[in-house]
Every structure is written in structure tokens, then in C-alpha cells.
């Protein structure tokens, strides 16, 4: 293996400053999702950007269908990048699947993280008794079969739904990155995501967390934010954004950037 993971996952470090900020994108997007957030932080932060291995911008050959069956493999990648960049401490901002990856990474290596900022995070998407994750198993199966049946149609239907707000640019951008993903990988990752359950481990998190939640998110009910706050082991706060959609960094970048500013450790 002569090549580097940092190359494969398009790792980039931009901006200058003492503090390090890691921006990790979520399912269906790639690091370009942070485009409009980035300008707010490059002046006083070194911002680390990378693509998840499942992103459309990463060579699909790297996606090992045996390895990426749990989020732990993604956590390995993240920790490897941080170590490779000799980062000893950072603030981590993770959206959707990356929020979960951040939680697991902080359990494994608490000393690496000063704070986690979790956007649209969910410990479990499926409903359970005494837990409202937002999805029933049968619904999920329907989604999967829709994806299998016609990926293009699914993307075209899902993108506006996920973006929520009436922001055509955001829909277009999310559609673009979704289409960039190879369909079989998209489906596989969605299955992985719906398979996970972090409820038994949230208490192991010691790092303080900020949970950013939009008022209406098709993927994550607002109650999940409260659940997270109550169960995360560290000191955590919830920041509700009075907007709609699962992708505030695409649909309302300015608002999110301000909220992020507030959430970052001073």
C-alpha cells in the first residue's frame, strides 16, 4: 500500500490559527458541503476537511464492503487522519453519520477532542419501545426498496425532502453529491446507518457536546436531541435552529455558522 489514506480521502487543511477545527460531512454529501461555512472559520482556525470513504468524491474502489459494515471502520479512518496530521487536540463538527462517528471516536480517544458539535445526530433511527428514532422498520424497508428500484427517482425525491427548506440551490447541491455516490455504496451505507444503535454507549462519552438540531428534520425528530443531551456522558447543550431540514449547512449556512461560532469553545 504505497498510497496514503489522506490522499484517498482528499484530506485538506485550510486556514490558519492555533485552534483546530475538523469538519466532517454526513451521508450523501462530501466536504464541499462545508463550502459556505468555511469562510467563517478559516481566519482563526486551521480547518481539517476530509471525505468519508463512502462519499462520491472518493474512488469507490476504496470502499471495502466487508470492512465498512460498522461505523468503527469509519472511526479508524478519522483517528488515522488526526494522527497522521499530528493533531493532538481539536474541535470536531460532525453532521449526521459523522456526528455518530465523532461520538465513537471520542469514546475511544477522549483526549483528542475538546468538544464535539453534533449536527442532525441520532443514536438510532429506528423506533424502539421507549425510544422514538423517527423510523419504523417497515418504512425503512420501503425506502430501501425504493432505492433499489430506481435510484435516480429516489434521489430526486429524497433530496428536497432532506433539505426540507425551499432552497433550490441546496437541493441541487445535495442531489449532485448524492448522484456522485455509486448507488450500491449509497444503499450499503444507508443499511449500515439504520443498523446502528448507540444508546448503550452514549454514557461513555466524556467530551462536552453541543447538539445542533433544526426545528423540523425528516431524519431526526427533535426529541432525539433531548435524548442525546440526557444520555451523553459529558456536559452537553442543545442548540435549536428555527429552520427546517436535515442539512442546515446547505440550506442556511449563515445561521448555522453563527450557531457554530457560539458552540465552539472560546
Amino acid at each position: 500500500m504505497g498510497h496514503s489514506l489522506l490522499e484517498a480521502l482528499n484530506v485538506r487543511v485550510v486556514g490558519s490559527g492555533d485552534r483546530i477545527l475538523v469538519l466532517a460531512h454526513g451521508f450523501g454529501t462530501d466536504q464541499s458541503a462545508w463550502q459556505r461555512i468555511l469562510p467563517f472559520f478559516v481566519r482563526d482556525h486551521r480547518v481539517v476537511l476530509y471525505d468519508l470513504v463512502c462519499a462520491g468524491s472518493v474512488n469507490p474502489d476504496y470502499f471495502d464492503f466487508r470492512r465498512y459494515t460498522t461505523l468503527d471502520a469509519y472511526v479508524d479512518d478519522l483517528l488515522y487522519i488526526l494522527d497522521a496530521l499530528r493533531i493532538e487536540r481539536c474541535t470536531y463538527v460532525g453532521h449526521s453519520i459523522s456526528a455518530t462517528i465523532g461520538i465513537l471516536a471520542s469514546i475511544r480517544r477522549p483526549e483528542l477532542f475538546t468538544k464535539l458539535v453534533l449536527i442532525g445526530a441520532s443514536p438510532r433511527f429506528l423506533n424502539d419501545k421507549n425510544y422514538h428514532g423517527g423510523f419504523e422498520q417497515s418504512e425503512i424497508e420501503k425506502v430501501f426498496s425504493a432505492m433499489e428500484a430506481n435510484y435516480a427517482a429516489w434521489v430526486n425525491g429524497f433530496a428536497p425532502l432532506a433539505v426540507g427548506a425551499d432552497v433550490p440551490e441546496a437541493v441541487r447541491e445535495f442531489s449532485r453529491t448524492l448522484f456522485n455516490m455509486r448507488p450500491d455504496i449509497t444503499l450499503f451505507v444507508s443499511r449500515t446507518v439504520f443498523n446502528i444503535d448507540l444508546r448503550g454507549v452514549l454514557g461513555l462519552v466524556r467530551v462536552p457536546c453541543s447538539i445542533i438540531q433544526t426545528a423540523k428534520d425528516v431524519s431526526v425528530p427533535a426529541s432525539v436531541a433531548t435524548y442525546l443531551k440526557n444520555h451523553l456522558g459529558g456536559r452537553s447543550t442543545v442548540h435549536m435552529l428555527d429552520i427546517e431540514g436535515h442539512l442546515p449547512h446547505l440550506s442556511a449556512p449563515n445561521l448555522l455558522a453563527q450557531e457554530l461560532r457560539r458552540a465552539l469553545p472560546r
Binding site: 500500500m1 504505497g2 498510497h3 496514503s4 489514506l5 489522506l6 490522499e7 484517498a8 485550510v14 464541499s32 463550502q35 462520491g56 474512488n59 469507490p60 474502489d61 476504496y62 471495502d64 464492503f65 466487508r66 470492512r67 459494515t69 460498522t70 461505523l71 468503527d72 471502520a73 479508524d76 479512518d77 488515522y80 497522521a84 465513537l104 469514546i107 475511544r108 433499489e148 428500484a149 435510484y151 435516480a152 434521489v155 430526486n156 442531489s175 449532485r176 448522484f179 456522485n180 455509486r182 448507488p183 450500491d184 444503499l187 450499503f188 443499511r191 449500515t192 443498523n195 446502528i196 444503535d197 448507540l198 444508546r199 448503550g200 454507549v201 452514549l202 454514557g203 461513555l204 456522558g233
Partner: protein
């Protein structure tokens, strides 16, 4: 929303843009609203030599003829294009669909990452940081374009329908020169990045992977990694799925599965104190006993060590007396500090809340037990589900109203070989029929190119519409055919119940013959020793089974219609060349007369071709009925799908009995053995096998005893009875390490030409693996197992022990096999009568052999062939004949060598009356002739000897004796 053509065209390099233009023309002519990836594929296929065509050629399945498979592909593309709805308003340039545009974008991204151009684009990217519009500067080359098109689910489905795998096609595009069908599809990608960040520590690179981890679930792999650590090496799993992962891991270890753990500690054993922990706490004595046991085990421990599983630590929280737990914890701590590092511990907790309580109550437990917290967030059960996920090919189905069509279409690619071949034949028939009817407009791109291939050269524009209609009918017919065959296949071949695993009698001809080859002055070791000692003083001539040149490849080609005849002509020609050893009949005054016999070889070959079944080889009148019903069965099933399965099954069972009976009469000296085999096979079918069959449908039999010929005959008959044809037998002689191909082409293990092929033990295993991948329904005959050298032994022993019939081939094996449940009947053929040459390692051998014999489904004892009584019988028959011919005045002296040949011929023959016929028609006739030619009327002594100088011109039917005897 679709993209304007001009925008898409800007992203493409010249060649790719040309293909796009072609595709747009296709879409336009078909009045489609958008140009999709399918149109691109259609355009690519229309070109006489395109990247796609070449890649398809290289990656196509060797089982079908390329012409046929390409036709199927063109047909499938045509069908898929027909399904695209026609737009009402004609567009000049149908815009590029979203999914095609996405494919173009993906190929841009791919090309940007490609090493050849990486630096260039990197420069561009740096100059234009973060702005994604720089992507448009990348002009996509055709190769990358085709690669992304192949990712489109619609395209991979269409290719899958035609029997191609997109993954393999992609491999073929990437590696134009080295493309092997069996190359691992999971092989690592070529190094894409030549520049690396030099100051980084690249050890522990997460992409590097261990081949052994392939079948291990991710949770177990992580547990294994923790066990390897020097500190904090005792995993404590936490999470909702922790108990799942814990059970799965522990069960794997208990079952002794290899490869679950990292190599360093593979073979770790398990000691469970789970029960004691949960109960313990109430009775300390039990705990004491268990700890003592652990201490003893630790002292005796030979392997890498063992792991104590403590189970759910919640038990510690429920206990009233903290002291008891503390004492358990400290005792355990004492054990864990043992110097050898041979003891591990594993436990779980289902929630972080419990963990907090545990730490509160027993603050030191984490340190004392050297625990490593492992959050488990994914269920192992879910993972199994994920594992069944097949990336690429056939996974994505068509939406809504086409669903039913589509399911059958996907299944058709999963037909077993037999049905697939019949299906293809019928499709090709349909194609032929249509192509002669329809007058295709050669200039019309509207028609898919298979119609353009039609013999009809005249172009007639007026008939385009008609041709199109024809195509629709054709599509319907092909779909119907697909459905029919998948129905048949599903009901008869691919269903999971044991009875249904049986394949139909294969209509393929297998022709089997032997001839006697003269070999001067040495005893071939392939003769059973008893035969040698009784009948063969040194310097004997022995009969040898000989190759009929039907290699595996030719067989698969036979499946393609039209080649059959050629093949048989070839084989009979080659056989003629191989004739040798004439027998000369000498009488006192030497007169030479040529005797000819009615049946010539080519006739018998021809006959065999027409009557492929074992029963029909056999002349017995009483059996003709059973063979007829056999034929009827295959006929019915192939002709109509309406006949009920139940009836087939009944008929089959009845037929099966008959088949065994026929075999028992043919190999009359091994009746008990045949009974045992038929019982074992049917038992295993019903899932009552001793070892393997109950799980995997494999049946293992060992044939113990002398009588090599009997064993071979029976093996070949089993192949025919169980799988419907002798070509389903794979025969290997492990003593010679040569690759021996199927029985219908028995290669003598000492044929000089195969000595050269001795490329070692690995080859047998590889060859067998290859063959089994190609022909999953096979009987494998392994001869001389006890002579196999160590490596081969180990491999076979592992196979017989393992539930899973796995060979050391890597990669896509399950893809190859999962569609047809298999009943392999591998057999070990072991001669317990050991020859002298293996004394040196006989001890070792015996142990190994015993172990092997323990793991087969049944040991079948073979009696030695009774040559004495056969000799008596033959002599009596000859005597009786002689009396008829010449009264008491004629005496015949049969040379010992000739007698041996006759005996061997009788042993080898499949024809019941063949020898008698030979005596009557060849021997007696020639004697009569000889007597007439020398004009002697009384008291003649004739001598039947072997004559070295002549080449046998013809062979008696079904008997490896010459059809003529020279009279001198």
C-alpha cells in the same frame, strides 16, 4: 432535470463525445425524451470494435459462444430500450438524463484522481480552490466514461441479464492484458496515488487488510485486535448489541473456527465461567472449583492460551455482598497476571449505565482485569444481512409494472448450466426464426444491432415498422422463454430441498471406450496387485484405459448446437490413430487372411451419440423400458413446464431404482457395494448423512478394496445416475499427481505425455477447484488417496472435515455456486492392499487414512475381482463354441498374454454380451477361416498369440479387443 446536450458534450473528450452523439441519435430515433446510459451502451455496442465490446469479450463467460452471448446482450439492450416510454413531442436533441449526467460527473471525478492526470488536475484544483466548477474542465476520456456508465444500475442489470458481470467488465477495461475469469474480484485497486505525504507515519494503514479477516464480522475482528494488545487486552463489550457480538465471538471460538482471531493467537480455546459468575456469587465453592480448573488448564496449556468468558457483568451488580465479587475479582486478577500471557478474559454489559454502576461499586475492576472498553453499536445479525448484499450486477430491479418481468429476467441469469443452455438454445432458435422473417433496415439505428446481423442483406426502408413489431413479439417470446426456464430450473434444480437438487439426465453424449495398448516389457503399476501376481508374470501386456480426447473445454462447446457432430468425428478419428495391438491367430501352415467384422467403430460412436444413457449402452432387453422412461423424463421437462413435479419425482425415484439395478447387473461382482452406495446417496439426499451431506449436500464415500475398474465404473455410473451424465465425473489419481480429466476420457496415469505435465500437487487442487466452479454438479473420484502426498492429504482432509466444501481459491466462489445447490459426491478411492513402495511412511499414512475414513459418509468395501471364475467361464464358453465349430477335432491354445487381454477386456467392458459376441463373431469366425484356408479337416491345433507388428484397425464394439484376428 435533464441537462442540455451541449453542456454534457463539453465534459467529454472527442471519442466519448462521439459516442454521446450516437446515443443521442438512438434516443432521437426512438423518440425518447431523454438520452440515458442505456442509449450509450446501445451506441457502444453498435460500433464494430468498441472498448465495451472488447472488454465484454474478455470477461464473458466461457460457457457460451461469444456470438450467442453478444446477441443476448444486444437483445437485452433492445428490450430495455423498448421499455423506455416514448415522448410525444419530438425533440431535436433529447437532453441528457440526470443519471447519465451523474455518470459523466463521476467519470470526471475518477479521471481527476487517475495517476496519469492527477498532477495536472491537482494544479488546476489548487488554482481554483474549493470551486467545484473546475470539474468541468476535465474532459472525460472514453475509458472512464464507459467505466461510470457500467456503474449505472440499469446498465448493470441489462448486462447481468445477458450473463455479463459489470465488475468483470470493469476489470477487463482496467487491465486489458491480464484478465482472468478467476482473478479475485476483491483484489486491491492499483495504486492510484504516486505522491504521498512523506513525513507521515504510514504504518498501521487502515486500508491494508488481512486476508484472514474476510469472513469475520467486524465486531469479532475488533475483539481479536484487542486481544493482541499488550496492555488493556481484555475486552469488555458495551452497547445494545454487546451481548450479540459477545455470543457470536464466543460461539465462533467454541466451534473452533479458524481465521476469526488474528494469526498470532489463532486456536485460542474458551473457558466459560459465565454460569458460575451468575450463580456463583451465591455459592463460593463452585467458584473455587472453577478457578482451580482454570489454574490447571493454564499449567497444561500448549497452544496460544485460552480466554475466560465471564458473560454479563451485570451479575456483579445484582449481588448483595460486595465482598464475594471482590474476592472473585482479585482471584481472577491473580490468574490474569500469569507470566505467559496465555490467559484472556471477555465479558459484556448492555448499557453504559450498568458500566457506571460497576465502576462505582468496584472501582478497581477495570485496572485489575486490564479491561478494554469496546463500544458495540452494530448488531452482528444485521451484518449477516448486510453480507448478503451483492454489490453490482442484478441487484437493482426495475420499478413498478415491470417488476414481474424483471424478477424472471434476473432469475434467468441464475439458471443452472443445464437450463441456461437449453434456454439459450431456444432463444437462438427464436432469433434465427425472426431474423429470417424480418427485413431489417440496415440504416435504421432504431433497430438493435442483432437484427442487423440478420442474413438478409437487402435494405428495405418501408418495413422498418414491421420489423419493430417483430421485435416486440420477439421480446415477448424471449421473456416467456426466460420465465419458462427459470420456472423449470427453480422447481427442479435450484430449490433447496434435497430431492430437487437432482439434475436431469444430461442429454450430452459421453462416449467411452478403451483399447489395449501394447507396452513392451514392464508391468504397469496401475494394475491391482492381485491381478499382477496371479496372472502376470513380469513381462506382460496389460490392458489400459485410454483417453478419448474429450477435454472439458470441448465438452462445454458441445453444448453449443452444431458442434456435436464435429466433435465426434474428431474423437473417432483420434481413436483410430490410437489403435494398437492386433491379435494374430496362427495355425500350422501360415496363411494370412483379413477378417472383417460388421460393426465399425464410427458406427458404434454414432450409435452412442444417439443413445446417451447408460442403460442404452446395455443390450439387455429387459432394461430398455427403464431407459425409455429416463428419456421421457428429460424430454417432458424440457418440453413443457406444466407437468407436475410430483409425478416427475415419482418417476425419478422409480427410475433411480432401475438405474441402480442396471448398474448392479453391469458391475455384477460388486452388488453389495452398489447397494451401500445407493442407500448412502439416497440417505444423504434426505439429509441423513453422517457428516457433510446434511449440511451442504455433499456426499463423501470411500471405496476401500481392490478392483480399480469396478470403482471407476461405479463412479461413472453414479455421475450418470445422480447428475445425468458421465461427463459429471471428475477423476483424479492422487498417486501420480497428474491431472486426470473426466472418466469418459480416462487418462492412463502412466501415459508418457502426462508425465511431462507433472506440475505438482498444487495443480490437482487448483484444477479440481476450477472444474468444480465450472461444473458444480460433479462426482469427484480421487484414486489412490493413500498415496497422495502430504499437502494434498491435508487439503482433502480439511475438505472432508469441513462443512463447507472450500478449496483454496479466492474471491468470488459463492457467486459462482450459490445459484445451484450442489450435491457433490466426492469419493475417496483407497486401496487397502498397499503396494510395497509406500512402506516408508506407512505409519503416518495409516493414521491419516483412518482419520479421513472417519469423516466420510460411508465406507464402501470392494471385493476383489474374481479372475479365476471369470477365466473358467470364458474358457467354458470358448470350449462350447469350438465344439460347435469344429467338433472335437479342433484344439485351441490360447497364449497366456492373450488370455490376460481377454480377461482384462471382460473386466473393462460395459457390454454384457460383448465378450460372448466377440468369441462368436471374431474368434470363431477367424478360426473357421483359418481352418478353411489351410485345408485341414481334422485334428488341428491352433494357437492364439499376440502379434506385435500390427496396428489394430478396428475394435470390437464395447470391448477392448480387436475386431479382427489375423490368420496366418
Amino acid at each position: 432535470m435533464p441537462t442540455p446536450v451541449s453542456v454534457a458534450r463539453q465534459c467529454l473528450a472527442e471519442a466519448a463525445a462521439a459516442v454521446l452523439d450516437d446515443a443521442i441519435t438512438v434516443a432521437k430515433r426512438r423518440s425518447h425524451a431523454q438520452t440515458t446510459s442505456l442509449h450509450i451502451v446501445s451506441a457502444l455496442l453498435a460500433l464494430p470494435s468498441s472498448t465495451l465490446r472488447e472488454a465484454c469479450t474478455r470477461s464473458r463467460s466461457s460457457a457460451y459462444s461469444p456470438r450467442l452471448q453478444f446477441r443476448a446482450l444486444e437483445l437485452c439492450v433492445g428490450v430495455a430500450l423498448d421499455r423506455v416510454s416514448v415522448s410525444k413531442s419530438a425533440v431535436d436533441e433529447p437532453p441528457v438524463s440526470n443519471s447519465l449526467m451523474a455518470a459523466i460527473k463521476r467519470s470526471q471525478a475518477n479521471q481527476r484522481r487517475h495517476p496519469e492526470t492527477f498532477h495536472l488536475y491537482q494544479l488546476q484544483l489548487n488554482s481554483d480552490s474549493l470551486n467545484s466548477s473546475s470539474m468541468s474542465a476535465v474532459k472525460v476520456e472514453l475509458k472512464h466514461f464507459v467505466m461510470s456508465i457500467l456503474d449505472d444500475p440499469i446498465v448493470s442489470r441489462v448486462l447481468g441479464d445477458a450473463g455479463f458481470r459489470t465488475q468483470e467488465i470493469k476489470m477487463a477495461i482496467l487491465n486489458p492484458l491480464t484478465m482472468s475469469r478467476f482473478s479475485s474480484t476483491t483484489s486491491r485497486p492499483p495504486p492510484l496515488f504516486l505522491c504521498s505525504l512523506s513525513d507521515l507515519d504510514l504504518n498501521n494503514f487502515p486500508f491494508s487488510e488481512d486476508a484472514a479477516t474476510e469472513k469475520v464480522d467486524e465486531n469479532s475482528r475488533r475483539i481479536g485486535d484487542i486481544l493482541l494488545k499488550s496492555r488493556r487486552r481484555n475486552p469488555l463489550l458495551i452497547g445494545v448489541y454487546a451481548s450479540d457480538a459477545y455470543r457470536k465471538f464466543v460461539d465462533c471460538l467454541k466451534r473452533g473456527e479458524t481465521g476469526v482471531l488474528p494469526k498470532e493467537i489463532d486456536g485460542l480455546s474458551v473457558v466459560s465461567i459465565e454460569h458460575e459468575i451468575s450463580e456463583c456469587i451465591s455459592s463460593e465453592e463452585m467458584m473455587e472449583v472453577k478457578f482451580k480448573q482454570v489454574v490447571e488448564m493454564l499449567q497444561d496449556c500448549q497452544g496460544p492460551g485460552f480466554i475466560v468468558n465471564v458473560g454479563d457483568l451485570k451479575a456483579f451488580l445484582n449481588v448483595k455482598s460486595v465482598d464475594v465479587v471482590n474476592s472473585v475479582v482479585s482471584k481472577m486478577k491473580g490468574l490474569l497476571i500469569n507470566p505467559g500471557g496465555k490467559l484472556w478474559l471477555i465479558g459484556f454489559l448492555s448499557g453504559d449505565g450498568d458500566y457506571k454502576k460497576l465502576i462505582e461499586r468496584f472501582p478497581s475492576i477495570e485496572m485489575d482485569w486490564d479491561l478494554h472498553l469496546l463500544p458495540i453499536t452494530t448488531s452482528s445479525i444485521g451484518e449477516n444481512f448486510m453480507r448478503s448484499f451483492v454489490p453490482f450486477g442484478g441487484f437493482f430491479t426495475m420499478p413498478s409494472e415491470l417488476e414481474s418481468l424483471c424478477t424472471t429476467a434476473t432469475k434467468s441469469s441464475r439458471l443452472c448450466n443445464l437450463c441456461n443452455e437449453k434456454y439459450e438454445q431456444e432463444v437462438s432458435d427464436v432469433l434465427k426464426g425472426v431474423s429470417t422473417n424480418s427485413v431489417a433496415d440496415k440504416q435504421s439505428v432504431n433497430l438493435s444491432s442483432w437484427l442487423q446481423i440478420a442474413e438478409c442483406e437487402t435494405s428495405n426502408r418501408c418495413l422498418t415498422v414491421e420489423a419493430k413489431e417483430d421485435q416486440t413479439i420477439l421480446d415477448a417470446r424471449v421473456t416467456a422463454l426466460k420465465r419458462k426456464w427459470s420456472d423449470i430450473c427453480q422447481r427442479l434444480h435450484c430449490s433447496s430441498t434435497s430431492q430437487e437438487d437432482i439434475t436431469l439426465p444430461n442429454p450430452h453424449t459421453s462416449f467411452q471406450n478403451f483399447h489395449i495398448q501394447k507396452e513392451s516389457a514392464n508391468v504397469s503399476p496401475c494394475m491391482p496387485s492381485d491381478f499382477q501376481t496371479i496372472y502376470l508374470p513380469k513381462q506382460e501386456i496389460i490392458p489400459k484405459p485410454v483417453v478419448l480426447s474429450t477435454s472439458v473445454d470441448t465438452q462445454s462447446e458441445i453444448r453449443v448446437q452444431g458442434l456435436e457432430l464435429n466433435d465426434f468425428q474428431n474423437s473417432s478419428a483420434s481413436q483410430k490413430k490410437m489403435m494398437s495391438l492386433p491379435i494374430a491367430c496362427t495355425s500350422s501352415p501360415p496363411v494370412t487372411t483379413d477378417l472383417t467384422l460388421g460393426t465399425t467403430l464410427s458406427d458404434s460412436a454414432e450409435e452412442c451419440r444417439r443413445k446417451p444413457n447408460l442403460q442404452e449402452h446395455y443390450n439387455g432387453i429387459q432394461h430398455s423400458e427403464s431407459s425409455l422412461s429416463y428419456d421421457i423424463l428429460s424430454h417432458q421437462v424440457s418440453q413443457s413446464s406444466s407437468c407436475s413435479y410430483h409425478r416427475e419425482k415419482q418417476m425419478y425415484t422409480k427410475d433411480l431404482e432401475n438405474s441402480w439395478n442396471v448398474l448392479a447387473e453391469k458391475v455384477y461382482w460388486q452388488v453389495e457395494a452398489i447397494q451401500t452406495i445407493s442407500q448412502t446417496v439416497s440417505h444423504c439426499r434426505n439429509g441423513n448423512g453422517r457428516y457433510h451431506c446434511s449440511n451442504k449436500g455433499n456426499v463423501w464415500l470411500s471405496f476401500v478394496g481392490p478392483d480399480k475398474v469396478g470403482k471407476r465404473k461405479i463412479a461413472s455410473a453414479v455421475a450418470e445416475i445422480v447428475f445425468g451424465g458421465k461427463e459429471h465425473l471428475l477423476s483424479f489419481d492422487l498417486s501420480s499427481q497428474d491431472v486426470i480429466s473426466p472418466f469418459n476420457s480416462i487418462i492412463d496415469c502412466h501415459d508418457p505425455k502426462y508425465h511431462k505435465m507433472k506440475s505438482g500437487r498444487k495443480m490437482i487442487v487448483d484444477y479440481l477447484a476450477d472444474e468444480l466452479t465450472k461444473h458444480p454438479h460433479s462426482v469427484v473420484l480421487l484414486e489412490n488417496v493413500e498415496k497422495a502426498d502430504l499437502l494434498v492429504r491435508i487439503v482433502y482432509l480439511k475438505q472432508s472435515k469441513r462443512v463447507n466444501f472450500r478449496f483454496p481459491w479466492k474471491g468470488n466462489q459463492h457467486q459462482q455456486q450459490c445459484f445451484c445447490p450442489r450435491i457433490d459426491c466426492p469419493k475417496e478411492d483407497t486401496d487397502t492392499v498397499k503396494s510395497d513402495d509406500e512402506n516408508d511412511d506407512s505409519d503416518d499414512s495409516e493414521v491419516w487414512l483412518e482419520e479421513l475414513l472417519e469423516h466420510v459418509d460411508e465406507n464402501v468395501a470392494f471385493k476383489p475381482f474374481d479372475f479365476d471364475s471369470l477365466t473358467q467361464k470364458i474358457l467354458k464358453k470358448i470350449d462350447a463354441r469350438l465344439k460347435q465349430v469344429g467338433g472335437s477335432t479342433l484344439l485351441l491354445e490360447i497364449d497366456r498374454e492373450v488370455m490376460v487381454q481377454i480377461l482384462a477386456a471382460a473386466w473393462l467392458t460395459d457390454g454384457k454380451n460383448a465378450l460372448e459376441d466377440w468369441i462368436e463373431q471374431v474368434l470363431c469366425l477367424s478360426m473357421e477361416e483359418a481352418r478353411q484356408s489351410c485345408n485341414v479337416t481334422s485334428d488341428v491345433v491352433m494357437k492364439l498369440v499376440q502379434y506385435d507388428g500390427l496396428v489394430v484397425e478396428a475394435q470390437a464394439s464395447e470391448l477392448c479387443l480387436p475386431a479382427r484376428i489375423k490368420v496366418k
